[in-house]
Amino acid sequence: MKKIKTLTFLPPTFPSAVALRSVLVAQPAAKQYDESLINFYEEHLVGHADTLYRFAFALTLSLDGAAQCVRRTYKDVSGKLENLHGGGEPNVALVLISECWKAFAAMKGQKFTEGQSAVTRALKPIALDGRAAMVAVDVAGLSPGEAAKALGWSEKDLRHKLAEARRSLMMSTLDV
C-alpha cells in the first residue's frame, strides 16, 4: 500500500489558502543591496539615528511616536539608497531631517502618548514648525539655510519660526 503524507489541519483562525496566497503575493521581494550600499547605510545613515530620533521626538513629543517616525524615515530612505549614494557626498543630516519631516507629515492624524519630562514641557508650548526649526538647527546642527531646505521653507520663514521657538524656550523653566 502506498503511504500518504500526514494531513495537517489548520486552526480556524489561519487564513485560507486563497487569502494566504494573496498575502504572500502582496509581499514585495526583499531588495538586495551590494556591500558598498549596505556600508553607506549603516555607517552614514544609521549613524545619525539618535539625532533623528531627537528631532522626531521634538515633532511628536512622544518616545513611541519618535520611534515610529524614525522607523518610517529609514524605511523610506532605504528605498532611495542608490540615488543617495550615487549623488556624490550628500549632507546626510539634511537628507534625514527632510525625510523625517515628510514621514511625520505622512503620519498625520496618528495620536501618540506624550511624555511628562521637563523637555517635553518646555517644547510643548512651541509650535510644531518652531520645534522643527529649533531642533534641526540647535540640536541636529544644520545651518538655518540647510534647515530651511530640509523643511521646505524659505530661510526668512525658517528664521522667523526659529526665533519664535528660541524665545519660547528662553521663557521656559527647562533645567537639567
Partner: protein, 283 residues
Amino acid sequence: MAAFNANELSEQDLLHSFMAEYLDGELPEALRAKFDDLLKKPGQAQLPEHFQAMRGRLQLSLQSYYLKEGEVQELRSFVQDPTVKATAENVRIDELGRGEIVGTILRRLALVAVAAGLVGLAVWKFATPKAATFKALEYLGYEALAMEEDPRDRLDLPSHEMKEIRQYLTAYPGLEFKPKPIAKLPEDWRPDGATIIDYEIAKVSVVQYSHTGTKEKMFHFSYAGELSDLPKSDPGNIKGLVYQAYASDELNLVAWQQAPGLVSILAGRRSGLELAEFAADGK
C-alpha cells in the same frame, strides 16, 4: 528661491535667529553693527548668555533620548536581513578561525622542523662514525710529544717484555680491536711498555719503544678505523708495507692498515721512510 535678506526680519527675529552665529563669531559683517545696536537696548544685554544657557539645557536634555539596540537593529534590517548578516559574520568568523588554525598548525610545524633540525644537527655533530671524528694524526701527534716528555709516567704498563705487553693489550677490557705490537726490533731498540688512551670516542693502544743508546723514542699507536679515513697522502710501499707518511715540525708519522678495521701509526723523530722500514721489519 529668492535670496534671503536678513533686513526683512523683525528686530527680535533677527536678534534671536542670528544669536548662534553671533556667539560663534560667524555673524555676517553687514549685520554686526545692527546686531550690536539691538543688544544695547534695555533688557537685551543678558540675551546671548541666557540663550547659550537654554540652548545648552535643551541639548543636554535631548542627549538622554536615544534608540535602543533592538530599534537600531531594526533600522539595519531594512537593507540587510539580520540572518543573512549573522550568517555572513559567522562565515567571516569561521574563515578567521580556519586561518588561525592553519596559522597555528604552520607555526607548530615550523617549530617541529626547527627542533628536528637541531636534533639532526646534534646527531650529525655527536653521533657520526668515530673514525671520521677521531682526528688521529692531530691527537696522536700530540700524544707522542707528551709521552716523549714524560716517558714513564704515561705508561700504564712499564715493561720491556713484549710478551707482557701483548698480554696487557689483549686482556685490556673493552678494547674492540686486537693490537699487534711491532715485535721484531733492531738490536738497539726495545719496548718500554704500553698504555691505552681512552678518548671516549676512540680507544688507542700505544706501545713505546726507545733506543738503548740515545733514548730516542718511537710510539706505535693502533686504533679501530680505516686508513682511508686519514687525510690523503701519497702512498709508499716498503717491503710489502703500504703506508702513508705525514710530517710536522717535530715529528714524522707513518700510517698503515694493519688489519681490516685496524689502523697503526708509528710516530718518531726519524724520516718517514725509516719509520716505515722499522714498521715493515717488525711485522
